[in-house]
């Protein structure tokens, strides 16, 4: 199973196995990773699963859809490498990916 590393804003790292086909958000929720709220349940409607993706991985990701950028506009402290983790589907190519959660989601 691909491994995804979640780093929270205090620097604490958690690496977990996430099943292929799940989103990075679902991986976090199922493993009770703090810092990802995912209020809308993955509908690209709330921006509370916002993460920063480490650069080397960011460029490997499929581009954002329009709706995702619109939601990131509303996220807390968006940056160039911001993504909604509900839109990042785990695959072998993303094995080892590192994402950082913002200091808060709202």
């Amino acid at each position: 199973m691909p491994k995804i590393t979640y780093i929270d804003s205090s620097g604490e790292q958690r690496t977990i196995d996430v099943q292929k086909g799940l989103s990075v958000m679902e991986g976090a929720i199922q493993n009770k990773i703090p810092g990802i709220d995912a209020d809308c349940g993955g509908g690209m409607a709330c921006a509370t699963c916002h993460v920063y993706v480490k650069e080397e991985w960011f460029n490997k990701l499929p581009k954002t859809q329009d709706g995702e950028q619109d939601m990131i506009d509303m996220a807390f402290e968006p940056k160039k490498n911001s993504r909604l983790s509900c839109q990042l589907i785990v695959s072998d190519e993303l094995d080892g990916m590192v994402v950082t959660t913002p200091s808060k989601q709202t």
Partner: protein, 336 residues
Amino acid sequence: MIETDVIIVGAGPVGLFAVHQLGIKGLKSEVIDNLDKAGGQCIELYPDKPIYDIAGIPECTGEELTKNLLNQIKPFKTNFHFNERVQEINSEGDNWIIKTSQNKVFSSPNIIIAGGVGSFEPRKLPVKDAEKYEGKNIFYSISDKNIFKNKKISIFGGGDSALDWALELSKIAKVTLIHRREEFRGAPHTLNQIKKEGKVDIKTKFQISSISGQNKIESINIKNDDGKETEVKTDYILSFFGLIMKLGPITEWGLNMDKKTIKVNTENFETNKKGIFAIGDICTYPGKLKLILSGFHEGALASVECFKRARPNEKYRFEFTTSSKEIQARLGVKNK
């Protein structure tokens, strides 16, 4: 005090359909919602986005679904209490007493919480001291635009609210519009109009970094992607980063919670408190799916238990809308 058979908290699609399921059983409900209109997430988050999984409706928007649901419950002449949030719930015998943020008091044997992911509140400006100036120099909505006359206004956001107010206020004030990327999600024709009139200073790829001032805001600093800061003289900040859902006082009602959701018994969608039900996105149980269609089913089952509590001396009889004369009379159907 308003007495009713059922109080529904939340006027989203699931709350609205619960009105229907209660109504055909002859129960009156009162609906309370923090927003100014019905529809919940359907209206606030995706009014124009298509929904494809409402049974029997191949495609509809959040707005259309809301309109149709309101139409469907019209016969029941339900009272809606908008712009109100339920603050307190207390028990009194077999009844629940609810007090709202507008100090309205309700009494009922049943409360159905159809609160989605909580009540909508404006997303706050992510900067130190924002709270201190809120309501004085920082606004998330506008009630009187005249206070901005001849002032320096910094507007944040890329949606329709930001664009509409930038255009409107540029007629009476000096407006700077600040957005984190080049693309705006608001209506292109508003943006074109703003550019054509040329009165708004548009700063894209900038975000707020700090506020300066003594008792009132004097200026703000904004930062671009490379970390370069720019000062903008500002009297008022208008921030339009959309709405966020907050659970609010629900967490204090003594219900069995699982993170931000309420645990229910799937036989009748009752919570750990007798007569308090939770349906739709806010409830959780093994296998729960956050789908509108699941919420409709949950409301139907909850309505049966509500009937038993509201009419303890009557026997609940399962009936079909197709054949029940009684239900059809409640729906105002004229029999041919």
